[in-house]
């Protein structure tokens, strides 16, 4: 029972932080473009409106897929240590986290494809291609850290960096951090790597038929995925944190970098994106891996 309450609390916390980040991110992009921008709590208003709205569905797969995507991301989130805390004490295995994250993507893709709109299917095809693009460099960086630390537990990797900024993997392995940061841009689907959404080209891709609460669930999924992805980065490279507040602050730093890149870049075509990811961050990651191995 207590475990269930903890899980519920962690879920709400992750959603809250994710939505807050989304709102602040929009504000920052607006400031970069010399605009006033929406209030920082705009994402909450959007989600509130979306859930209050009527919506359309094409079949039960769409409902199932949206629930599956949020559930997948939430369960992934429960495996990411938040400043050393977890909802249920268990091994925070990196490979497990990477694979669990896929169920969220799969659910989302299923819901999108179930709508039967070709735009959605094109978006899904691009998103999966992009996934193959970013997974390889990101995994290569992780592999280096796993071999270096002799463990695949995210918690232990975070603990191994305790004691000051000089122990952070970010400082110890700057090349790895750089490669992971580029890959992270693609993981989050932010700009240069947002070919799967591309509103002007394929009508926002997977989201084309989502409205009302389905889009709301997609928003929440995105919020949780921001939380999970920045959380993984903080644990991998910034040494976790001693308390939740610092953890969220570090997460925000990671998100800020993403947002700053997002605000100024145009968009890659999908095959350009994959080529880029397989050449630039991948070669940086391989150099890093070679340094660790030798």
């Amino acid at each position: 029972m207590i475990a269930a309450i903890r899980v519920f609390g962690y879920s709400l916390f992750a959603i809250f932080i994710g939505l807050l980040f989304m709102g602040i991110g929009r504000k920052i992009i607006a400031r970069i473009q010399l605009r006033l921008g929406p209030p920082f709590y705009q994402a909450f208003l959007d989600v509130g409106k979306l859930f209050a709205r009527k919506s359309i569905t094409h079949n039960f797969v769409m409902d199932l897929g949206m629930i599956m995507s949020l559930a997948g991301l939430l369960s992934t989130m429960l495996f990411v240590p938040v400043a050393g805390h977890m909802a249920i004490k268990t091994s925070s295995n990196l490979i497990l986290i990477i694979y669990l994250m896929a169920i969220g993507h799969l659910g989302m893709a299923m819901a999108a494809a179930a709508s039967g709109n070709p735009n959605a299917t094109i978006g899904v095809s691009r998103a999966l291609t992009m996934m193959l693009g970013y997974e390889i460099p990101f995994f290569t960086v992780m592999l280096g850290l796993i071999i270096f630390n002799g463990t695949s537990s995210l918690e232990l990797i975070a603990q191994s960096q305790a004691g000051g900024i000089l122990n952070w993997n970010m400082v110890k392995f700057p090349l790895g951090f750089l490669a992971a940061e580029i890959a992270l841009q693609a993981i989050m689907g932010e700009k240069p790597f947002d070919a799967m959404v591309a509103p002007a080209e394929i009508a926002s891709g997977p989201m084309v038929e989502l409205g009302g609460k389905y889009l709301g669930l997609a928003f929440l999924t995105h919020a949780v995925s921001i939380f999970v992805e920045t959380g993984i980065m903080v644990n991998l490279f910034m040494g976790g944190a001693s308390n939740v507040f610092t953890f969220v602050l570090k997460q925000f730093e990671i998100y800020l970098i993403t947002i700053l890149i997002e605000a100024v870049f145009p968009r890659f075509r999908i095959e350009q994106a994959v080529k880029f990811l397989w050449t630039v961050p991948m070669s940086i990651a391989v150099v890093q891996l070679a340094i660790i191995l030798l």
Binding site: A52, R53, M207
Partner: protein
């Protein structure tokens, strides 16, 4: 009078939902005429309507408000109706400029409608030819007030008086049927399908 009574009964939850709706208007701009050119300045640095939570959206499923930005030709009308019907409720329509009210300079065109409100329910019409971004923002703010007070319910009218709208739509859309071949959509469908079967 009845509207006022309805307003009295509005619960706290309803007010909250209307607050959300008011502060997060997502628009679908159907860029028909010259009005579309006024939207980029309203969205970018100078006027920045995003500070009210108003952002453009890609598809009718996601959008709350449909912007019809200028004159509407018959072929366009067909698409507008389809898009409007695809939007989930609640939904609002903003008509730009005099073209959507009386045809504007196209008042005697054989191929343009003169009054959009005859075919789909329009919540707000923005005056001007073309309206300046200030006018657009003013209209959107009026829409926000209407949403908060629960007035903006033209979409309900569409459901109630569907026969009236349908009759008007059919009257003009007949003209868009292709001259060659049959005027019935059904037969077009069968003919086309027949072609592709072989």
């Amino acid at each position: 009078m009845e509207d006022l009574k309805a307003n009295d009964k509005r619960s706290y939850i309803d007010n909250l939902i209307d607050f959300f709706r008011k502060r997060s208007i997502w628009m679908l701009h159907y860029c028909t005429g010259c009005g579309a050119v006024e939207l980029p300045p309203s969205m970018t640095s100078r006027w920045d309507i995003e500070r009210f939570g108003i952002v453009p959206m890609a598809t009718p499923r996601q959008a709350d408000v449909l912007l019809v930005t200028g004159y509407v030709s018959l072929k366009t009308l067909k698409r507008i109706i389809k898009i409007y019907e695809q939007m989930p409720e609640p939904k609002w329509v903003l008509a730009f400029g005099s073209c959507t009210v009386n045809g504007g300079i196209y008042w005697d065109s054989y191929n343009t409608i003169t009054n959009l409100a005859e075919y789909i329910p329009v919540d707000i019409t923005v005056s001007g030819c073309m309206p300046r971004p200030e006018a657009v923002i003013d209209a959107l703010q009026t829409l926000m007030e209407m949403i908060q007070s629960g007035e903006g319910g033209a979409y309900k009218k569409y459901k109630e008086n569907y026969e009236y709208y349908k009759k008007n739509q059919d009257r003009v859309l007949r003209k868009t049927a292709p001259i060659l071949g049959s005027s019935e959509t059904e037969s077009i469908y069968q003919e086309k399908e027949g072609n592709y079967e072989t």
